[in-house]
Symmetry: C2
Subunit: 354 residues, 2 copies
């Protein structure tokens, strides 16, 4: 072994560990690099599950007589109600969508409530009613629940951890690892509305907006794709960490490159204005009612037509393509400038919305 | 209609609503009457699920090719580590046991972590390792997880909401509604150890104890009962609200009376001493590694022999019997005095341990 430094730094492997943290920091929850650090370095070494390691939105489980999808999500959001949704609607849609993203038909939900002492009961009742409406919209049933009350000051109002179980029809194989060079990358509508609507509800924008969260169940949109005969390779709902985090996870899991066309990415003018003002990249902002679909390029038109039949997919457009190299990277082709790399968000980029 | 008051108050129905609360109070989380109030009056009217309304420890779901059990539980405990366990072990055992209590074989778990900013990462790693050990002990796999980080002061250290899915073998029908007059009531060992051990770990006892939480997976104990050919009618793990809450729920669901023999109830001398000092009823104290089994009296001996084969059931004893009337009531026969009614705990009886 030579002690000399490598002459070309691009050829060197990178043994430097990411900065060690003795304490959990907010960025560990941002859905970006620090979150994957926490998972890879703290949880994965001790939680030795092959299924968990696959890192899809839901676990896919073989019961012997069929396949199940199983998923969980903890929801914290402030304020608890905002234009277009509330924490209850988020809890239902988040879990329904995680199940749908592995090709499952969501069937049953659970909800574990942690309620702060002093929470107004009428607010709690409104949130419960909103969950029921969202469950009916998605065609799922809330079958298991738990209620804990925490002393004032030990929880921020209300947290809901939702879980869900769905059944995966035979023949479907939808995973983050299934993107293939030549595939088309589609998005079901404009991105960033949820994150900016929550910020606006907190009074953190200097201007008024009419933006509403896009929180919606996406399972009927997914069924529409399969009904249309689309050979769906990958589905992902770009929530925490936004489109950038989802596409980076897919590029890594599939060992492919994803190339986006900047001009094709649909963004509401109000989301664009708020992002420019606050210095955010809309690709990093959370969505709760959008999906990314990666399909063979020959199926792209059929997929777009199918999605546009539903209001939740009426803004569906192609935004990019899958290429072989550089594997694991997401690139953005800009209209005027050079292609740039879209990284995972690092940590706490946005004011926290979840 | 007469305006005269009913002459015999025992014949009057009771239309008086329980006191209305405009805000959630701690007692709503105690596992007793206030908790069932919150569920019956706030959640049930809007969450219209037949399965949820059955109120068993897990939902029982028909997939078309078999039956699944599905359950969730939110865990909050202070301190996060205590003699005999920690919040991670509780999260695994709590969900494994809820699945086993409907006769399911627990298979897959989920965990949603809500972590307070600033939590020491070595503490989090210890808790994750403890979850893995408990999962191995129970023979289950943690397949789905979510990690959120909440700003300092908005969550108390760490909360874990666990979920689980199990498969129910054909022919098993274990529900709170299945207790029959003539059945024997068994408990798998001494009660109250978990609650008192957590209090002791907080320094809330005036004396030292060697008590440890009983937190343990009970699924192998349940399998042992079925292997021995016991016709199991009801299983319940008396966690929050203790044996009193579990038996009241069973008496109500089965429309039977449950009569306990005070002298037969196994209680560790240190639990007895702590309860006397603090004015608690051990029947109200939480357990995390005990089960109540209600079986035909002819199967009782066989059931006790089967449970005693495992260390987790070595203290199994009969503690009472099921009778026809008064339906919905739990009675305690005392050695010297009259029989007394054991009610649901009302609200916040114990210093909170969950």
């Amino acid at each position: 072994m030579s002690n000399a430094p490598p002459t070309n730094p691009l050829n060197a492997s990178c043994p430097t560990p990411l900065p060690q943290h003795e304490r959990v920091v907010l960025g560990h929850g941002g859905g970006g690099r620090l979150t994957s650090d926490l998972i890879e370095k703290l949880f994965r070494p001790v939680l030795s599950s092959r299924v968990l390691a696959e890192g899809d939105d839901s676990a896919v489980l073989d019961t012997g007589t069929g396949r199940l999808a199983f998923s969980t999500d903890a929801h914290i959001v402030h304020p608890l109600e905002f234009p277009g949704g509330d924490i209850g609607r988020l809890a239902v849609c988040g879990t329904v969508n995680d199940l749908a993203m592995v090709g499952a038909r969501p069937r049953w939900l659970s909800a574990a409530f942690i309620i702060e002492e002093g929470l107004p009961t009428d607010l709690l009742a409104r949130i419960a009613a909103s969950m029921q409406r969202a469950a009916e919209e998605a065609g799922v049933e809330l079958v298991a629940a738990d209620t804990k009350v925490a002393p004032r000051g030990t929880v921020d109002g209300l947290q809901i951890a939702s879980g869900g179980v769905g059944l995966i029809p035979d023949g479907r194989d939808v995973r983050a690892a299934n993107a293939k060079p030549g595939d088309a990358v589609l998005v079901s509508g404009p991105i960033g509305n949820h994150g900016i609507a929550v910020l606006a509800a907190r009074g953190e924008l200097a201007f008024d907006t009419t933006l509403r969260s896009d929180a919606a169940p996406l399972n009927s949109l997914v069924e529409r794709l399969f009904d249309a005969g689309v050979a769906v390779h990958v589905l992902r709902d770009p929530t925490r960490g936004g489109v950038a985090a989802s596409l980076n996870e897919i590029a890594k899991a599939s060992a492919v490159s994803i190339v986006l066309n900047e001009e094709a990415i649909p963004i509401d003018p109000q989301v664009e204005a708020a992002s420019e003002m606050l210095g955010f990249d809309p690709l990093h902002i959370a969505n709760e009612g959008k999906l990314i679909a990666i399909v063979p390029s020959g199926d792209a038109e059929r997929a777009l037509t199918a999605m546009k039949e539903l209001s939740v997919g009426e803004g569906a457009v192609p935004i990019g393509r899958v290429e072989e190299a550089p594997a694991g990277r997401v690139l953005l082709e800009t209209a005027l400038g050079p292609t740039r790399i879209i990284d995972m968000p690092a940590g706490e980029l946005l004011p926290r919305i979840c």
